[in-house]
Symmetry: C2
């Protein structure tokens, strides 16, 4: 007896790395970043309708593996993501990820996808969303300190969403800066490689820090930070890993994604709980102001939250409908009679 073909319910659309790259080129990366920014903002705008939980982390000597689930009551999403700073030395990615959406009513998965690229895109889009509310109006220059895997995505998102036209690059490894400068050729951005953090931040309206070492580091010191700038702090994102001197936090107004997670993973792990923070979703919904004046120092203490991944997964699901940017995976056993799982197995013999 021939095995019957799997039913449509058994098939889960899967977006491979290759298809993700094809999709991004098909749509155009700046369009993807801008649309993702809007969708993340939409989901931050309905923050209270999400089931939220700090990520579920499994720590080991060399890194961490995390599961980041959330649900809006209709769709459930989660991301698997690792963070292994030592990987780079072995030619591996520090961060790899994949994600899934499922239908809350049935529990059946409806999308599986690579999320290494998608996480890079959503992290940049989240930064752009925060900067749209917090960066000084009309600022055209961003300093980018740390020129690793996230750098180009950040630069293009700030261009597409906030209108920056110049990016000033610095990394302790000049080859990383060269790599980023080369990749941004033809992007329309003026790219200025710098030889120090101090030089990089000259004239910058936005300072993005995105370094990867797992340690308490001081990428920015207090005397480097002038009034009126927006700091977009990406790299401090796990316990024991920060980038900013504490004194900067004391002068800045600090905005976060999900406090129970940011207190553990963000720059504010250096502060005690009396330190005032504002939740970004409250800025998005207009409950509290974003930037209030020209001299204010704003800080987005970004660690990455499950709702951003949810938005990215939702975006992807919408974009692949009717395209060939996915394949069908036979991942769900779906016998004709749901009680007859064994019969399905038997008939496949």
């Amino acid at each position: 007896m021939t095995a019957p073909l799997p039913s449509q319910k058994a098939m889960v659309p899967f977006v491979s790395v290759e298809n993700m790259m094809r999709l991004v080129h098909h749509l155009g990366i700046e369009r993807v970043l801008a649309e993702l920014t809007d969708l993340i903002e939409e989901d931050f705008g309905r923050w209270e309708s999400f089931d939220k939980t700090p990520r579920v982390a499994s720590h080991s000597r060399d890194g961490v593996i995390e599961l980041m689930p959330t649900s809006d009551g209709t769709i459930y999403g989660f991301k698997y993501v690792n963070g292994h700073p030592k990987n780079t030395a072995e030619g591996l990615q520090t961060v790899t990820a994949f994600g899934l959406l499922a239908d809350v009513a049935t529990g059946y998965p409806v999308l599986l996808t690579e999320m290494t690229l998608l996480t890079a895109l959503r992290t940049a889009a989240t930064s752009a969303m925060a900067a749209r509310h917090l960066a000084p109006k009309g600022g055209k220059v961003m300093a980018m300190i740390g020129n690793g895997a996230q750098a180009e995505f950040q630069a293009l998102a700030m261009k597409a969403v906030c209108g920056i036209d110049t990016v000033r690059l610095y990394d302790i490894d000049p080859r990383a800066t060269q790599k980023t400068a080369r990749n941004l050729e033809g992007s329309g951005l003026t790219v200025i490689p710098c030889t120090s953090s101090q030089q990089a931040i000259e004239g910058a309206a936005i300072v993005t820090t995105c370094t990867a070492d797992k340690q308490f580091a001081t990428i920015l010191t207090d005397n480097m930070v002038g009034p009126g700038i927006h700091i977009n702090a990406i790299g401090g994102d796990c316990p024991g890993k920060t980038e900013l001197h504490k004194d900067i936090l004391l002068r800045a107004d600090c905005f976060v994604e999900y406090p129970p997670q940011t207190w553990i993973e963000g720059e504010i792990q250096q502060m005690d709980r009396s330190y005032p923070i504002t939740e970004l979703w409250q800025v998005v919904t207009g409950q509290v102001p974003g930037r209030r004046d020209e001299r204010q120092i704003t800080l987005f203490d970004s660690v990455g939250f499950a709702i951003e991944d949810f938005s990215a997964l939702r975006y992807l699901r919408n974009q692949i409908v009717g395209t060939d940017f996915y394949q069908e995976l036979d991942m769900i056993a779906d016998p004709d009679d749901p009680r007859d799982l064994f019969g399905m197995l038997q008939r496949a013999r």
Copy 2:
């Protein structure tokens, strides 16, 4: 420029439903169940080396979606599983699942697989492992109350591991019993369909309850349970869902997987915390006895724990090496220079 082929590190072996069925038939289902039982027992024997956490559940009106992670320090595994009792009425599975193994040292996934079938196999193997320590020696008859998707797997595991030769079936829906009886034809088991639970348990050494309603039910009452039997209670596995009358628990010695989870999900959610329970791993390691005498009533209050899935994933990973029972999924973005994720994207244009 052509996109370079993904590197081997980017590829994750994936076992589809079809390949899982092929593999089970290739090895033989009783062999799979017996080997799985041994591997689960091996992992229960090193219980203390695992990173354990209760499953991460997202509850909704119609069901639950859960993530079940664990790690032994070298390998990390997790399962995605839903539980939607209403699904059956819509022709869908109550439980669907998939799972993943990853390398703790790098965080890179090393196996993705369907787990609806694999969960059915590991649940039956776990029951068989418990019965091997708890059921009366030489018992040849099992009563199977609830003849749904798990029934045949339970019967064959008890045959392969504990040597039962007869299974007495009962379900409130006679069609479910007919389905199970038909599927077990030619299995070597004597199958006796019964018209009541009372009739089914006559002469049984092992009574397995596996019903699916999400409610406090009484599948077995106290007067039905004679001395010396082993109760294998599978169906009470989430808050508000139990199968046994409380009085049975008071007469039985109760064995559980992971107490923090079983207190919430198992039969013992009916009891207060002074109720004595024994952890099954302590029986496996010989720290405490299993069955002590012929008149003892033993109860395995099974809810399913992440380590059992870990064992099943580990088993599968070993079995597919060098076979064609899997395909490679391009799931991990793996640029030549790990800091050059954007360059990889760009070169794929």
